[in-house]
């Protein structure tokens, strides 16, 4: 774990080499004891290890004792994702090793800011980038299946499809490389095809989203729409949002 000094400075901590949760907690304690970790926030890479809510609590306490806050947890294991979400932490699918080395958090933030396109040229640049992405990475078709209502402030990232049995309140964010299906009311921000898949779609029993994003396009709720004070869920209208002619269009699903 010696070559981790650069990643330590970025706030990334790779614990995926541990074979069991107990070893993972031990590794983390050792790292904290050595006092090498300078940053106040950390992103944990947990690999394939399955952690229970109790393990997540233990991880949090070790870090809290050192004054460090968990910003994000990268994990491949669905159990760990659910446990982390249950503890109120942001979760994402494991990032590939190449990305670990190449992309610093600053670059990631810059890449996001570039999404605010003002010129055609900038758009074309991104088109080129996105197509390269599709060719080189394998699109996983794993599906994350969550039976939970997402409240404001909760985020879910997954490198595949996401199915949520429950509502997504305004203030929540969902981002999937594949499709997003909400068995409930979608009120927050949903980003399907987050890695550049223009064929991704977003479905919900009722789409009342603040913003819908597919690949690099986004659309928002119209301002002049007479917005009811409340989102009544008595009448469900299953709808699907897809890209059609360069725009995100919402289609009804039961007609």
């Amino acid at each position: 774990m010696n070559d981790n000094t650069s990643t330590l400075e970025q706030g990334l901590l790779d614990l995926s080499e541990a074979s069991t949760p107990a070893n993972m907690l031990l590794d983390l304690s050792n790292i904290m004891d050595k006092n090498e970790f300078k940053s106040k926030k950390v992103k944990l890479v947990l690999g394939n290890v399955s952690l229970t809510p109790a393990h997540i609590c233990a991880l949090k306490s070790i870090l809290e004792a050192a004054g460090v806050e968990i910003e994000l947890i990268y994990t491949n294991s669905v159990h760990t994702q659910l446990a982390a979400l249950g503890a109120g932490l942001a979760v994402s699918e494991q990032i590939f090793n190449e990305e670990l080395k190449n992309e610093t958090p600053e670059q990631a933030v810059e890449a996001k800011e570039e999404e605010q396109y003002s010129t055609e040229a900038a758009l074309e640049e991104v088109f080129k980038l996105e197509t390269v992405d599709i060719e080189t990475t394998e699109l996983k078709s794993d599906t994350l299946y969550l039976k939970q209502t997402l409240r404001s402030g909760q985020v879910v990232h997954f490198d595949g499809n996401i199915v949520i049995i429950g509502d997504c309140h305004p203030g929540s964010e969902i981002s999937a490389a594949g499709d997003i299906s909400i068995w409930g009311v979608l009120g927050g921000i949903a980003h399907a095809g987050a890695k550049g898949n223009y064929n991704a779609c977003i479905r919900a029993l009722k789409i009342n989203a603040i913003q819908l994003r597919i690949a690099d396009l986004f659309s928002r709720k119209p301002d002049n729409l007479e917005v009811e004070k409340n989102e009544k869920v008595n009448i469900f209208k299953p709808e699907e949002a897809k890209i059609s002619n360069g725009e995100i269009i919402i289609y009804p699903l039961n007609g």
Binding site: P53, G86, A87, G88, T149, L150, R151, S152, G153, Q154, D167, H169, P170, G171, K229, N230, E231, K232, V233
Partner: protein
């Protein structure tokens, strides 16, 4: 405040945190009034103000002048816990553990807070913890020792959004198994004309159980300035509502106040004219 170890009964009181996310929606007012109402009904109640640096609970209770030791003095062991509990002016069953005004929220940790709650719940039926606004250290400290929560909000989108965030954070905390909503500053007339969100609207958005509805009442301003909780004032709508909340907490099934005002003869005449005019 009996601490007889000879008695085999250990009272484990209920530790309830009153929180909201949004500032200014009525957490401190609710804590003061619900606590006073519970004490009037015979329970032994301890109020804890965790808004360190911006303390207000002592003002609302009218106990500002009587504070010698604060929660920070207890933590830093300058005094015993008993010495820091200030008895209420009217009701000896009610005590206040005040916050320190000269420090800030970093003066306390979650573990220390949990320890204090654990010690207090041995001697009191109810421990009400007044949380500060926000989701940072102050809030985390306030919820540390609690097993129940009251989420206070007003019928406005900003407050409701923040309440949703808070509920999400509370759901993630295993120890809190019971949380309910207190909808404050409801204006029945505006709800009827559809200018304000109704309680049903708020419950629809938040998906949480309702504990009580407190109507907007100008007497609150008077009671705050006097340092006299409104439940002690006669004939105030908010006072009655807070009393009902206390009874519900104690297990009684109290129906919610109906806010519909029956139409006056003038309203009926007006609506008759409007109906004929539109024909």
């Amino acid at each position: 405040m009996a601490n007889n170890k000879e008695e085999t009964q250990v009272m484990t009181g209920r530790v309830i945190v009153v929180t909201s996310g949004k500032g200014g929606v009525g957490k401190t007012t609710s804590t003061a009034n619900i606590g006073t109402a519970l004490a009037k009904n015979g329970a032994k109640v301890a109020l804890i103000d965790t808004d360190i640096g911006l303390r207000n609970l002592d003002l609302l209770m009218g106990l500002e002048n009587r504070i010698v030791y604060t929660i920070v003095d207890v933590i830093e062991e300058r005094c015993k816990l008993n010495q820091a509990l200030v008895k209420d002016k009217k009701n000896p069953n009610l005590v206040l553990l005040a916050a320190a005004q000269t420090r800030d929220k970093t003066a306390l940790t979650a573990e220390q807070m949990k320890d204090i709650c654990d010690r207090l719940k041995e001697d009191f039926d109810f421990v009400l913890v007044d949380s500060p606004a926000g989701i940072e250290q102050g809030f985390q400290n306030a919820i540390a020792g609690a097993s129940e929560a009251i989420i206070v909000t007003t019928p406005e989108m900003s407050a409701v959004r923040d309440a949703d965030r808070i509920i999400g954070l509370l759901e993630a905390k295993e120890e809190i198994d019971n949380y309910k909503l207190l909808l404050n500053r409801v204006r029945p007339a505006m709800v009827q004309t559809n200018d304000m969100m109704s309680p049903e609207d708020v419950l629809d958005i938040l998906s949480v159980k309702l504990l009580g509805l407190i109507p907007e009442d100008e007497n609150i301003i008077i009671s705050t300035n006097k340092g006299e909780p409104i439940v002690n004032m006669d004939n105030s709508k908010a006072g009655i509502a807070y009393n009902n909340v206390a009874r519900r907490i104690q297990g009684e099934d109290v129906p919610f106040m109906s806010f519909e005002t029956p139409p006056t003869w003038f309203d009926k005449v007006k609506s008759f004219f409007l109906a004929t005019a539109s024909n």
